[in-house]
């Protein structure tokens, strides 16, 4: 490895080093604030390392990692998301009192898994990144082990993620068996040389889609989502929903684009089936739900459906739309779960609709941020979510995917119902009970700053998306 290689993967090294440092800190000096600060500094350093890495890009590091504009864009996005999760976690864990230190080490390893996925161009790094992420998530989801729900969620995720990883691995094996290559670029070359799709290729791709679909929580691989979201501590849910899915989607985008799978009709139809199933399943499941974390879980399923429409839309337009959508989705999701985390009392998570009754009148800023997130999820103008959905629809229309766009529109209408119902709750007059229990025990200065920055970005992207779009265009051009 040359020195340029080292510079190119410096963000990954920084995250890995931060994980080790935080673990050592936690071993010798159990002070929550210091450990939290160290992990946030580590993430910030990694974020800073993206700049020199960009100057070294584009570059393949040992055939496993592709450090290019696309990968680094996602690395930056994921690191920012992770930083926000760390900030939000601090207040939440402080309210719970003890054993908070390992959390940050796990968060950092999970982040390492995510950024690895974002720059993976090889089955080995793909699978290892995915497993680092999954193993860290098992523990993060079950982190509040004094709660049975949390443990249950962790075990469910463990069993199902391991199962789906087996499908993924089998898919990879089929492709390798047929083409004798595991790197995306060599694989694409072999695929082209063999003259297009055959049974092994299609079956392998379908199995890889199963594994990816599980991580993305696309229907019909979504069944774990509500249980895990509900059981996991809120900041961990934020990570699962907001950050890990972005990483998986980034990898899928690279994989499908590089292999030219978006030109293959069977794959497109498979993706369409996933998209349609996800949209309907997510929105219909959320319809009468009263648990806020479950609503957000179902909503995230639907959003993956919308996202897949952009995947199906051909060309750079679709990839740009998908990337913008992911950025908007990440910001929105982090705000929503960040508010949940901040409001959660010591013994449970604030996931009942009643916890949000009249939130706006009790805590106008937090209520405002929550409403902004809901409106963004619903795709109301002047929020990032609107622009994201707009681009997805535009890319769909550009590729003449009329049926998918129609289904998307129908589902957006269904989605409005439960988003607006939550908004109504936030604006309702608070009951006396809610007033008496007016506390935000999980709130911390760091979390507040993170929420403020996220909320500001949410509106900024809705009003002035041009700079981000330019960045995304250069990123997609490098793919």
């Amino acid at each position: 490895m040359s020195s340029a290689d080292w510079i190119a993967i410096s963000p990954l090294i920084a995250v890995a080093a931060a994980a080790v440092v935080v673990m050592m800190l936690a071993a010798f000096w159990r002070r929550h604030a210091i450990v939290a600060a160290a992990s946030m500094i580590g993430l910030a350093v990694a974020l800073f390392c993206v700049l020199p890495a960009r100057s070294a890009a584009p570059r393949m590091v040992t055939g496993l990692l592709a450090i290019d504009e696309f990968g680094l864009f996602y690395v930056g996005l994921l690191l920012k998301g992770s930083l926000a999760v760390a900030a939000v976690s601090y207040g939440y864990l402080r309210a719970r009192g003890r054993d908070a230190e390992e959390y940050y080490a796990l968060l950092l390893t999970a982040t390492l898994g995510c950024v690895t996925l974002a720059v993976s161009a090889h089955f080995v790094s793909f699978f290892l990144g995915l497993e680092i992420l999954s193993v860290s998530l098992y523990a993060l989801i079950a982190y509040t082990r004094e709660r049975a729900r949390s443990i249950e969620a962790g075990i469910k995720y463990l069993v199902l993620a391991a199962g789906s990883a087996a499908f993924l691995l089998f898919g990879m094996a089929l492709l390798y068996a047929e083409y004798g290559a595991m790197g995306f670029a060599p694989l694409a070359k072999a695929l082209k040389a063999s003259g297009g799709a055959n049974v092994y290729m299609l079956a392998g791709m379908a199995l890889i889609l199963v594994g990816a679909g599980f991580k993305l929580a696309a229907a019909p691989f979504h069944l774990w989502t509500p249980d895990v979201y509900e059981g996991a501590p809120a900041p961990a849910t934020a990570f699962v929903a907001g950050v890990s899915k972005v990483a998986m989607a980034a990898l899928l985008l690279r994989f499908l684009t590089q292999l030219g799978a978006t030109d293959s009709r069977p794959i497109l139809i498979a993706l369409s089936a996933l998209a349609v199933a996800s949209m309907f399943a997510g929105n219909l499941l959320a319809l009468l739900q009263r648990n806020v974390k479950r609503i957000l879980a179902y909503s995230s399923i639907a959003h993956i459906g919308y996202l897949l429409v952009a995947f199906i839309a051909a060309g750079p337009m679709g990839a740009e739309a998908a990337t913008f959508y992911l950025a908007a989705y990440m910001i929105t999701t982090l705000i929503a779960f960040g508010v949940v985390a901040a409001l959660s009392p010591r013994d449970r998570d604030a996931d009942a609709m009643e916890d949000y009754q009249g939130l706006f009148w009790r805590r106008p800023w937090m209520g405002g941020a929550f409403v902004a997130a809901l409106l963004s999820l619903a795709g109301i103008p002047l929020t990032a979510g609107f622009i994201g959905k707009y681009f997805v629809v535009a890319s769909g229309i550009g590729s003449a995917l009329w049926a998918l766009v129609l289904i998307l529109a129908l589902n957006s209408a269904i989605g409005l119902f439960y988003y607006l119902r939550s908004v109504v709750a936030v604006y309702a007059r608070p009951g006396e009970e809610a007033k008496a229990a007016d506390r935000a025990p999980g709130f911390s200065l760091a979390g507040g700053v993170a929420l403020a920055v996220l909320g500001f970005s949410l509106i900024l992207l809705g009003v002035y998306p041009a700079p981000l779009l330019r960045l995304i265009q250069t990123a997609i051009a490098s793919l």
């Binding site: 469910k156 079956a203 379908a206 019909p220 009468l288 622009i387 002035y464 998306p465």
Partner: protein
């Protein structure tokens, strides 16, 4: 020029600060933010205007595009501002008069519990109005258009605890919505035809692609006219404005007299190319203007509420502006807009001072003899009234109205009938204005003056009074110096009325004398009737025909009655009959259908891992089947 964006941004920032600062702000801080933001905006506007006049831009206008909101093929809505001569006039009036009214409001609203809310809405209004007049594309223009409508609604219903005010606000919103719908259709039509949102491009393309009298041009112009009629309270959508007086008086001054209601004038002047291409629509503008100014002039004569007199007078004066637009005298309309903003804001503010000092008494028959008690208010009100009545030579209103009458006579699109209507209107204006002054300030004292206005009320009155006098000396008839500053300044944006310049000067002077005579006659007649012989007035009112006419005019020619029978009653009846809404049942059916689906699909969430794992496996099988089967 690069500071252009600051003009709307400052009031918007003020609004955001007030809206989010909420009750944490002290009253003083709220006043500073509310007034200061508009004041700063006015200063920036002055600087920009000075630069515009000093070093004019290369083309007709200065263009500033902040950013493109989104860009999808032809659809590229930009956040961009367009500043030509007409915009300069509108921006100066909106910020300048707006600032004075804000200052006045600090004192007027001092005791109100909704003090901060008031300034938040007012700032939002100023920001929206500025966006409306500065927008370079239809989307932004529409944003401003709806923004001012929203603020108007919020401020009419400002004292929402009284049901009447809420109803007035609803009425204003619903009636203007009729016009807005037409306007939105017009905008869609334009975008659909020309595939661009940029106003100037639209106009250029319209001129290139449509011939004069083309059906499409007429349709577009007529639809836009519909929007203008609603916003500017012209026939047949004028009924909301008198009721809009339910809002605080500064609101009436700013929104329902000086600025927002003239948005229709702005819209037509901005799209004058379309109206030139559609002579039929333009003629409709002139006829509607003439009819409106007459009808509301008669109504003003019979009103008892001081603010309603002024409201009908506003409708009537905007009628003049429409008349000017209808005969192609675009700059005359903008001229009258400017002078009207000065004197009508002044009159409303003066009326507010009177109302405040008389413990919220609004009935002019319960006023009287106030000239001794409120000297400053009296003299400034007198100046405003003189301008409204068109007192010859020394008032701004005279010059602008005279220009409109002369254009109506001499323009190729005008004619004697339109001119005669305007002349009768001028007479009526003088009559009801003098009646108002006589009843309020002269005669015996009927109410007790409780308080005298402070400097924050007096200063705006004095400044506006001065402007009402001197504001007209920027454009005078040839016999009186022939100053053409205003018209020439606007020439880069608005063409001259065809035929007006060519008409003989002798004719112009004669017309001026006739118009002056009509105004003076009205003033003298009202003075004699209401000061000298009040018995005669009472006598007329007691006669059957007199009482009938008064009742008819008091009710605004029965439009409210008619609309109540024609639209409201049938609608309410239909609503009562259709209480369970047969259309709604379809929606309920949809909702029920989806909740049924929900109940079905929610069974899949069993919480059992084995079932979830089976789901993954089944999904994998299904996916494999799809992929291999489609192949």
């Amino acid at each position: 020029m690069s500071l252009l964006w600051l003009i709307p941004a400052l009031p918007l920032a003020g609004y955001l600060a007030l809206a989010f600062g909420g009750s944490r702000l002290s009253r003083a801080a709220a006043a500073w933010i509310g007034v200061g933001s508009v004041g700063l905006s006015a200063l920036v506007a002055l600087g920009v205007a000075a630069q515009f006049i000093g070093t004019p831009p290369a083309g007709p206008a200065f263009h500033q595009t902040l950013w493109t909101w989104m860009s999808v093929e032809d659809f590229k809505p930009a956040i961009g501002f367009y500043l030509d001569a007409m915009t300069v006039v509108f921006v100066l009036v909106v910020t300048g008069v707006g600032f004075l009214i804000h200052l006045y409001s600090v004192e007027y609203m001092a005791g109100d519990e909704g003090f901060r809310r008031f300034f938040a809405y007012m700032n939002l209004f100023v920001a929206s109005m500025l966006v409306l007049v500065m927008a370079d594309n239809l989307l932004l223009l529409y944003l401003g258009w709806e923004g001012v409508g929203l603020c108007s609604y919020l401020l009419i219903g400002f004292w929402y605890k009284d049901r009447v005010n809420g109803r007035a606000a609803q009425k204003a919103f619903i009636v203007t919505r009729v016009g807005d719908t037409a306007m939105a259709l017009g905008l869609f039509l334009l975008v659909w035809q020309f595939r661009t949102l940029d106003v100037q491009q639209l106009m250029t393309q319209a001129r290139e692609q449509w011939r004069v009298g083309a059906g499409m041009a007429t349709a577009a112009a007529a639809l836009l006219l519909g929007g203008a009629l609603g916003k500017s309270a012209q026939l047949p959508l004028q009924t909301w404005l008198p009721d809009a007086m339910a809002g605080p008086t500064p609101v009436s001054a700013l929104i329902h007299a000086a600025t927002m209601v003239t948005a229709g004038v702005y819209l037509i002047a901005r799209t004058h190319v379309l109206f030139e291409l559609a002579p039929a629509a333009q003629l409709a503008v002139a006829i509607i203007g003439a009819a409106t100014l007459l009808i509301s002039g008669f109504s003003a004569l019979a009103q008892r509420d001081i603010k309603r007199v002024l409201a009908y007078s506003t409708i009537s004066q905007i009628g003049y502006m429409f008349l000017a637009l209808g005969v192609g005298a675009w700059s005359a309309a903008v001229f009258h807009f400017m002078t009207h903003a000065f004197f009508k804001a002044l009159l409303f503010l003066g009326a507010g001072a009177v109302i405040l000092s008389l413990h919220h008494e609004q009935d002019i028959h319960k006023m009287g003899g106030l000239w001794k008690r409120l000297p400053l208010t009296f003299w400034t009100f007198l100046a405003g009234s003189a301008a409204l009545a068109g007192l010859p030579l020394i008032t701004a209103g005279f010059y602008s109205k005279d220009l409109i009458l002369w254009s109506a006579w001499s323009s190729n699109a005008g004619g004697p009938a339109l001119w005669a209507a305007g002349l009768i209107g001028a007479f009526l204006t003088a009559l009801y204005t003098t009646r108002l002054v006589c009843l309020v300030f002269f005669g015996e004292e009927k109410g007790r003056v409780a308080s005298k206005p402070g400097w924050r009320v007096s200063a705006p009155l004095a400044i506006l009074a001065a402007l009402s006098i001197v504001g007209g000396f920027v454009e005078t008839p040839r016999a009186l110096g022939g100053i053409r500053w205003f018209g020439e300044f606007l020439r880069s944006a608005l063409p001259a009325a065809p035929g007006v310049e060519e008409a003989p000067e002798r004719m112009e002077s004669a017309m001026m004398l006739i118009a002056s005579a009509a105004a003076l006659l009205g003033i003298v007649l009202a003075g004699v009737l209401y000061l000298g012989m009040p018995r005669v007035v009472e006598g007329i009112a007691k006669r059957a025909w007199g009482a009938a006419a008064q009742a008819f005019w008091l009710g605004g020619w029965g439009f409210d009655w008619l609309y109540d029978r024609l639209f409201v009653k049938p609608f309410v009846w239909a609503a009562t009959v259709n209480r369970d809404d047969f259309i709604d049942s379809a929606y309920n059916g949809v909702a029920a259908f989806f909740s049924l689906l929900h109940r079905g699909i929610i069974r899949t969430q069993t919480g059992r891992v084995r079932w979830y794992a089976a789901g993954v496996a089944l999904g994998a099988v299904a996916l494999m089947a799809i992929v291999l089967w489609v192949r």
